[in-house]
């Protein structure tokens, strides 16, 4: 009973800062007849086809590139494993604007190929870590038994290993597909007005054409598709949680033998490929028409060529740090509380746990653009002039970060044996004291990791922020996008420098997170 009451808090947060704005958009789309117009227009279906097509292609590439890396992370005992783990993680948390620009350094005119590659680039980490997580804990002896029965190594992989990994591959693919279908920053930067997905079209219609009902109709369409994919992914995840007898990684990892070295080679190639855009970006930030120069970095103290920006690059950077800190704090409070409630609900049985779990994941899938747009429509109804409040952007970012916090903390909390809490209780610890003395220290490290992870995601958030940030208080990604959209060599130089800056902060955070990670089955 108490747990159900506690569940009202995160649900209330989601209701006000997620469900209400999104529902407002949906009704807006329905009311003005925008939905009929949108559904009968062939343009819409072209958009849908391109959105799904590019997402499917990106997902396929991410899975193919992610599997060898997953194998190395899970099964190989080689030097530099920690480095590979961190390196794979970097693209996933890089700001979308940065990745868009990095690919523009190679494909100056954009196009379908860089869009697909950029989306895949982000998500190799999701596949490698989700699949690797399960692989690391699956018993090797089933495979050994198949080999002893006469199966060749590839045969054993296809008939024994792959089926065992399918739940993880399925759930990773579903998540990746979602991320790619709702990806905003890279598509906007690499596709411009030529190659549009639902997500960028919603943005363009709202901001440039002021076609609110059309944008709302497209949001509704997208929301429906996302919900369907999330439900499928949920099914796969449930199967995964119950499917296997899990074992510790230590006893399963070993030095690669024979043909396994080929897989290690492919994985190494993937890691190198992942780092190419990153390196390209840094080189681009340092090279000008007149040779190597730090001009871009120096220009960060200014407002760009002929005052392109309302504030200097440095001010934007400081604003980014402040906003991301606030967003992380909100997400930690809501996320950790939700995780504790979820554990409590699951323990006492009942369907509410599952409902809350799905509700908490929804904001990952619903396009940030829709959420930002929804805030614009609804938040002036809240008291105290909320639409111009400096908390608006952090709240929107927190919505994106909270699901990640839950996914990182929940498995660790779940791994705490209930009898450990009971032992503390029999020694005289009240329920609140058990929380402080047992749960909190055990999740402590993963909490810090979740905070670091959330911080970089908030730092790079572009979709919702681009709607909500006031022009006198932009974040770094907003500034980068603005600089890129204006002419002037100094502007693009400055944009590349700002990207490099964001990247350094991001990589530093990722390395820190990797040191703090608790070795247990986190889901990202």
């Amino acid at each position: 009973m108490a747990w159900s009451a506690a569940a009202l808090l995160p649900l209330g947060f989601l209701a006000v800062f997620f469900a209400w704005p999104v529902l407002a958009i949906i009704t807006l789309g329905l009311r003005e007849g925008g939905l009929d117009t949108a559904l009968t227009s062939s343009d819409t279906w072209d958009l849908v086809a391109f959105t799904l097509g590019q997402a499917a292609a990106s997902t396929l590439i991410a899975v193919v590139a992610g599997l060898p890396v997953a194998f190395v992370l899970a099964r190989c005992r080689i030097r530099g494993l920690g480095l590979i783990r961190a390196a794979v993680m970097v693209p996933f948390v890089l700001p979308t604007v940065v990745v868009g620009l990095a690919f523009r350094a190679f494909w100056p005119d954009g196009g379908v190929v860089p869009i697909v590659l950029a989306n895949a680039f982000f998500n190799v980490a999701v596949v490698a870590r989700t699949v690797g997580g399960l692989w690391a804990h699956t018993d090797r002896r089933a495979e050994d038994a198949a080999r002893a029965l006469g199966a060749s190594r590839p045969r054993a992989f296809l008939n024994v290993v792959l089926p065992a990994l399918m739940p993880a591959i399925g759930s990773a693919a579903a998540v990746v597909f979602l991320f790619c279908a709702t990806s905003f920053g890279v598509v906007l930067i690499l596709g411009g007005a030529r190659y549009r997905t639902l997500e960028t079209e919603i943005y363009l219609r709202t901001v440039e054409l002021f076609d609110l009902s059309g944008a709302a109709a497209l949001s509704l369409l997208q929301f429906t598709a996302v919900l369907a994919v999330l439900l499928l992914g949920g099914l796969a995840r449930r199967r995964r949680e119950t499917a296997l007898q899990l074992r510790g990684r230590e006893e399963l990892a070993r030095k690669p033998v024979g043909g396994e070295w080929a897989v290690v080679g492919v994985a190494a190639a993937v890691v190198v490929a992942l780092f190419t855009p990153v390196v390209g970006l840094v080189l681009k930030s340092l090279s000008t028409r007149d040779g190597w120069s730090l001009a871009g970095y120096r220009a960060l103290a200014s407002t760009g060529d002929r005052g392109t920006l309302a504030v200097s690059g440095l001010d934007a950077a400081l604003n980014s740090l402040r906003t991301a800190t606030d967003a992380t704090a909100i997400a930690l409070v809501v996320g950790v509380f939700s995780a504790f409630v979820l554990i409590g609900l699951k323990r006492s049985g009942g369907r509410l746990a599952e409902a809350l779990d799905t509700a908490l994941m929804l904001p990952i899938g619903v396009s940030a653009v829709t959420v930002g747009f929804g805030y614009l429509v609804t938040m002036d109804a809240l008291p105290g002039d909320f639409r111009t409040s400096p908390m608006l952007v952090p709240l929107a970012q927190a919505l994106v970060v909270t699901p990640l916090v839950v996914r990182m903390v929940l498995p660790v909390l779940r791994s705490v044996d209930e009898r450990l809490r009971q032992a503390a209780a029999t020694l005289g610890a009240s329920p609140a004291r058990v929380w402080v003395e047992v749960d909190l220290p055990i999740v402590g490290r993963s909490l810090v990791a979740a905070a670091g992870f959330g911080f970089v995601v908030a730092l790079g958030e572009f979709g919702a922020t681009s709607f909500l940030a006031r022009s006198d208080a932009p974040t770094l990604p907003i500034v980068i996008a603005r600089l890129m959209s204006r002419p002037g060599a100094l502007n693009s130089q400055m944009a590349y420098a700002a990207c490099a800056l964001l990247m350094v902060v991001t990589i530093a955070c990722v390395l820190l997170i990797e040191r703090l990670r608790v070795p247990s089955g986190e889901e990202f």
Binding site: Q422, A423, T426, A429
Partner: protein, 212 residues
């Protein structure tokens, strides 16, 4: 003394414990003996307050424990697999109950070294619990449970996870230790030999009922 009257525990449709009566006198060590699934562990957990009985009562010195929460009963417990706090060292684990009682720092250290001597882990204060052997972990769990001087000690198959030789040795140690400290205790086990070695009195259980 402990008096359990007509206790019944249900999990959904299954009856795990069916109308059990049990008394344990002060300073007495009683073994609950029975095959796995006979309800002996459930009975132990109900006495500790970790399960809620469908009917019946648990009384200590004629005081009904029904509305007393786990952490105020003053009953210590040792689980089969220790369940030591992984983020604390041996000292931190044994100190836990004393801290909950508000025992001063100096008194804590004294009591802990005395207890570690008692369980044969003299000088182990700052070892990590994750680096101890199974037998050592159970000794720490025992010291941890005894530290706050529980009025009743509940032992849930404390030796079952260990191998034969170690089990025999620890059984003798445990018997000696419980006698010398005059601890009132209930030991759950499925091992006849172990029950007889440690307990003053053996109570057998089958299918949720006491059979002797």
């Amino acid at each position: 003394m402990l008096r359990v009257s007509n206790i019944t525990v249900r999990y959904g449709q299954t009856v795990a414990v069916a109308g059990v009566d049990l008394s344990v006198a002060n300073g007495e060590v009683v073994a609950l003996l029975g095959p796995s699934g006979c309800g002996k562990s459930t009975l132990l957990r109900t006495i500790a307050g970790l399960e809620t009985p469908a009917s019946g009562s648990v009384c200590w010195d004629s005081l009904d424990m029904g509305s007393v929460p786990v952490h105020k009963r003053g009953f210590g417990i040792v689980f089969q697999d220790g369940q030591l706090f992984p983020h604390r060292d041996v000292f931190g684990n044994v100190a836990f109950g004393l801290r909950m009682q508000g025992v001063s720092r100096g008194d804590r250290a004294e009591r802990i070294s005395e207890l570690l001597k008692l369980v044969g882990l003299d000088g182990y204060e700052h070892r990590k619990v994750t680096q101890l052997s199974g037998g050592e972990q159970q000794r720490v769990a025992l010291a941890r449970a005894l530290a706050p001087r529980p009025r009743l000690l509940l032992l849930d198959e404390p030796l079952s996870a260990l191998d034969r030789e170690l089990r025999d040795q620890l059984a003798d140690d445990l018997a000696r230790l419980l006698r010398s400290s005059g601890t009132t205790a209930i030991l759950v086990t499925h091992d006849h030999d172990e029950a007889r070695r440690i307990a003053d009195r053996v109570v057998t259980m089958r299918k949720g009922r006491v059979t002797s």
